[in-house]
């Protein structure tokens, strides 16, 4: 159980939030030209690191807004939150 800083509502209990998986996955521009392997990579393959992970969360029982979070999957430390569409802040922005 940990506190998450909603960019709008402030610190809230983890139970108010929903997890939306890895962030910054861009939909390929021309899906009809992709190979099955490339499409499968876009749809299914995720990083799953031990360490810093950039991921999407939604404040499901609060303001219902989506946002991005940089979280250490090993320590559960939340390194930062930032708006959808924004690039990741700080040194963890080099991830990937």
């Amino acid at each position: 159980m940990f506190l998450i800083q909603c960019p709008w509502c402030g610190p809230r209990d983890e139970t108010e939030f929903g997890y939306g998986g890895e962030a910054h996955i861009a939909r390929p521009a021309g899906p009809e030209t992709l190979s099955d392997a490339d499409w499968a990579d876009y749809v299914f393959m995720r990083k799953n690191p031990k360490g810093v992970h950039l991921e999407r969360w939604v404040h499901r029982h609060g303001c219902r807004r989506w946002f991005n979070m940089a979280r250490d999957t090993y320590t559960h430390q939340v390194l930062g939150v930032y708006q959808m569409g924004e690039p990741p802040p700080g040194p963890e922005g080099g991830d990937g």
């Binding site: 709008w8 509502c9 809230r12 108010e16 029982h61």
Partner: protein, 203 residues
Amino acid sequence: MAERYKQQGALAHLHLAARTAEGPEDASVRLIERPFQGQINLRGEIGDEAFRSAVESVAGLSLPETPNSFLEQAGRRALWLGPNEWLIVLADGEETALAEALRAALAGQHASIAEVGHSRTVIGLAGARAREVLRKGCSLDLHPRAFGPGQCAQTLLARADMILLQADDRPTYEINARRSFADYVWRWLEDAAREYGCALVAE
């Protein structure tokens, strides 16, 4: 809109009005249902002057831009629900006329107006130990330095969605619960308040 003679509160089956003599004289928690509030869910861009001024002139309300806060004017309230979303609370029966006036004033704008009052009920919780009751089922920091009069929050009470509002520092809270959760939330509150002495208040 439902025909008014058919309107029934979400807690009508509990016959709360008949139980107001039960509580102890020195009850430090008071519970009441405040059914039938007019409520409108309003969405739009607050940075858009046309949206803001239309709402102010039609509803007679300023929309709060500070998260987790509400503004009150002439018996109407506007609660912050999100950066482009508010809940307007007003007297029962006034919401249809206001929603129509807002629709007319905001025609052509990227805005949404929905009457939602009948989907919820409001439970009033007040008294010296009201904060302790809430703390049993709410993870929000309710200490006066963090949450006080004029503030509201969408959060969970015993795993049920609620919109919590603090009206004054006695303290008096209002709990907006979904109609289908109202029975559960009321029974949970009554149980949580029992050890402090709980009186049911008729309005």
